[in-house]
């Protein structure tokens, strides 16, 4: 096990991501943050808080469950069955700039599912992808607009993001 980010670094990355998003988003457009269950949800909450503080206005934040849009529902990978949970987005996504948040971007398959799930909810002005870790190994033509930390980990290894809200401690490690 090799730790690649500690809690201080994760905090700094989120601050930097929020700054970059504010810098690149025209002021007259409405922002909203949506996290992919389950680690993306937590990072989205923190990012929305950081954005709200910076812009001095409440940025809406929601959670997206992408299970129903996965591409392996009829071709199960591994033994674990996907578990359906609820999508909790209590605002209208139409015409907003949606910052889609996940913990690790790897194959791009989750992001593809999330894009499909999102456009069934409405028609946003734009969708931007923000991730904590950008790991090499894309299988789909998808790239992050905001990547916190880039790493090149060989296939077969696991990049694990632990967060206080779910795992007692902020930490990213490879094993």
């Amino acid at each position: 096990m090799k730790v690649i980010l500690d809690s201080q670094q994760i905090k700094q990355i989120l601050t930097d991501l929020a700054a970059a998003i504010v810098k690149n988003t025209p002021q007259d457009l409405k922002l909203a943050v949506i996290g992919i269950r389950s680690r993306g949800e937590i990072i989205a909450n923190r990012l929305a808080q950081a954005l709200s503080d910076k812009l001095d206005t409440q940025i809406p934040c929601g959670t997206l469950d992408i299970t129903l849009y996965r591409d392996d529902l009829n071709d199960p990978q591994g033994d674990a069955q996907p578990q359906v949970r609820s999508t909790e987005i209590d605002f209208n996504i139409d015409d907003k700039i949606i910052i889609l948040v996940d913990d690790v971007l790897y194959t791009g398959r989750s992001t593809r599912a999330a894009l499909d799930a999102l456009i069934d909810l409405g028609r946003p002005k734009a969708i931007k992808l923000a991730v904590l870790i950008d790991r090499a190994g894309r299988e789909f033509p998808i790239q992050a607009d905001y990547a916190g930390f880039k790493t090149d980990v060989e296939p077969g290894k696991l990049v694990q993001v632990n967060l206080i809200e779910s795992d007692e401690k902020d930490e990213v490690f490879i094993e």
Partner: protein, 323 residues
């Protein structure tokens, strides 16, 4: 918001009844159904979950709610639906049930939703064909998705079924709903009382995990939930009670009787309602009534069932491929 539900590997590719499911499995279906509720409220009311799957509605008895709810649930999950009715099919030319099912299966269907007047038919089908089988009501035996949507509705309103007192009132003898309800409710920790005249109690009722009462007035003040069943005249031989008026007088849920009930009692009915017979209109449409919520929740519950059975079928197929 319910927090993280327990993870469970769903292994059943058929849903024949609730009697054979564990409390954990029933809870898992209810938790899964919560995730499907939002499909019906958003701008595109469809998800690509069962794309390319074919589901047959094989109904040998009439139905409004169950059939339409299954068709809509299947459509919202992007499956294709074949509608089968006894009257317009070759069953009227003498084709047997199994031949009918095998012929449909030869066309490449994936799931059969079946309702039949004889108990055990879904189980028989499940042993003889490869498609997933869902029981949508068999004789007086079970109507599992109704049982599930009933406990889902109760859980949504009361938080949990543990310790709740529930009365199921009326024509218990002819009711598959009463049986599925009983299994689901007692497994989830509720105390169930069957209420009705002795002539409408099933045989060997004292062997079931329920209390029995012949007086609605004795029970009405004590229960948190009351489920009023329809008198199923179409299934009756003989006269189980002297007159409809007398039945109504003793076992109808009237405005007067509701005065003795807990103020937050949930009033349920599986439908179709005989207004003025087992329930007065003011009560059926009143503030304690969740009758239309039951119908609405039925959609989410049925989507969850279709999803889970398909997952189990896919997993089994994969295991068989490996062997």
């Amino acid at each position: 918001m319910r927090k993280k539900s327990k993870k469970l590997n769903w292994t059943h590719k058929h849903l024949l009844g609730l009697r054979d499911l564990t409390a954990e499995e029933i809870t898992y279906i209810l938790d899964t159904a919560e995730g499907f509720e939002q499909i019906s409220t958003r701008s595109v009311k469809k998800a690509p979950v069962l794309r390319g799957k074919v589901i047959v509605m094989l109904f040998f008895e009439d139905s409004t709610r169950t059939r339409n709810s299954f068709v809509l649930a299947a459509s919202r999950l992007s499956a294709d639906v074949l509608e089968f009715t006894k009257k317009t099919s070759s069953v009227s030319k003498g084709e047997t049930l199994l031949d009918t099912a095998k012929n449909l299966e030869a066309m490449g269907i994936d799931m059969i939703v079946i309702r039949h007047g004889a108990g055990g038919v879904p189980e028989f089908l499940s042993r003889n064909i490869n498609a997933c089988v869902i029981n949508a009501g068999d004789g007086y035996c079970e109507h599992p998705t109704q049982g599930l949507l009933d406990v889902y509705t109760i859980r949504k309103n009361k938080g949990s079924l543990k310790g709740l007192k529930i009365a199921i009132v009326g024509d218990i003898a002819h009711s598959r709903v009463a049986r599925s309800d009983m299994w689901a409710m007692t497994k989830l920790g509720a105390e169930v009382t069957f209420v009705g005249p002795p002539t409408l109690m099933p045989a060997k009722v004292n062997e079931l995990p329920v209390n029995i009462s012949y007086s609605l007035d004795e029970v009405i003040g004590k229960v948190d939930v009351i489920n009023m069943l329809r008198i199923q005249f179409e299934r009756m031989g003989g006269n189980p009670f002297p007159s409809v008026r007398e039945y109504s007088h003793y076992f109808g849920l009237t405005v007067d009787r509701m005065k003795n009930a807990k103020s937050d009692i949930l009033v349920m009915h599986p439908g179709p309602i005989n207004r003025g017979l087992e329930i007065e209109s003011q009560v059926a449409d009143g503030k304690n009534s969740v009758i239309l919520d039951q119908v609405k929740n039925g959609l989410a519950v049925r989507m969850a069932v279709l999803f889970l059975l398909n997952q189990a079928a896919m997993q089994q197929k994969k295991i068989n491929k490996k062997l």
